[in-house]
Symmetry: C2
Subunit: 141 residues, 2 copies
DNA sequence: ATGTATGCAAAACATTTGCACCTGG
DNA sequence: CCAGGTGCAAATGTTTTGCATACAT
């Protein structure tokens, strides 16, 4: 719960909306959330907050390195905590659940390919859209 | 130029805006275009067209399998022709130019990783955001 | 003819910004 | 106290939709 530490280091003031946003990311079962998701969660929890604040806080947290912003195919931005190591994503086409994975070989190959084309990787995004082999998938129960 | 064939097969009527959109994708130097890009190109070429039509045509072409829609980090959707084999993308952070590449090893590893997690890949998107080693980069000259 | 396509304007979304008020340090 | 944060409403930028007209077959 002591998010004060991480927050303070960013130079941002420790305010209620900011603590609440972090707490939602930490306690929610779904680790990948949109601004709207968080807004609804906070309203449901009885907090008085504006959607604009959520957007501002999410952007600040992204710039501070606390969150990562993703652009999946939904048209809305999705955020997740940036506390773990880098990883890529498998999006389940049945239920939308996001599975994380890391594959060092793929990482190395990317660096090699980029070099061959005269680039140095700053960042990358690998998203696999897939059917679950088990039907129905039970990711979200 | 004979796009009539591909178009007819989709069941869509062969109209001027549709032919023109295909022609732009085929003749443009930049292969990855936004709706706005195409709109401006058509206006500049003296065509009378509505932006709404562009969006409708792009969406229909995507559904028909003639185009692929990408969501890079720009907030706008980017389209490209779907005639070539599958490939991934390197986005140049200096100029925005998109370089295409294929790496069979990466493809195979993805399939393997997906299987290990109980998935069958339907589609995937690998986007590398990178600095050009040459500065200034001369992709867009 | 007749069902589709189109252009325009208005609507629908996601996100950002201006501004007066509030609040953490 | 006061710089920075917040809520609200209005603005923005992208994409979609309703509708009357125009066009392909």
């Amino acid at each position: 719960m002591e998010d004060h530490e991480g927050l303070k280091k960013t130079g941002l003031k420790v305010t209620l909306p900011r603590l609440k946003v972090l707490s939602i990311f930490e306690n929610s079962k779904e680790k990948h959330l949109t601004a709207e998701d968080i807004y609804k969660e906070m309203l449901g929890g009885g907090d008085e907050v504006g959607l604009a604040t959520i957007y501002r806080v999410l952007t600040q947290f992204e710039q501070a390195g606390l969150l990562i912003r993703h652009h999946f195919e939904s048209g809305k931005a999705v955020f997740e905590l940036h506390d773990k190591a880098h990883h890529d994503h498998i999006v389940c086409l049945q239920c939308g659940h996001v599975t994380e994975f890391v594959n060092e070989e793929i990482e190395k190959l990317q660096t090699k390919v980029a070099e061959e084309h005269g680039f140095r990787i700053i960042e990358h995004s690998l998203i696999i859209y897939a059917d679950s082999i088990k039907k129905p998938c039970n990711h979200k129960k």
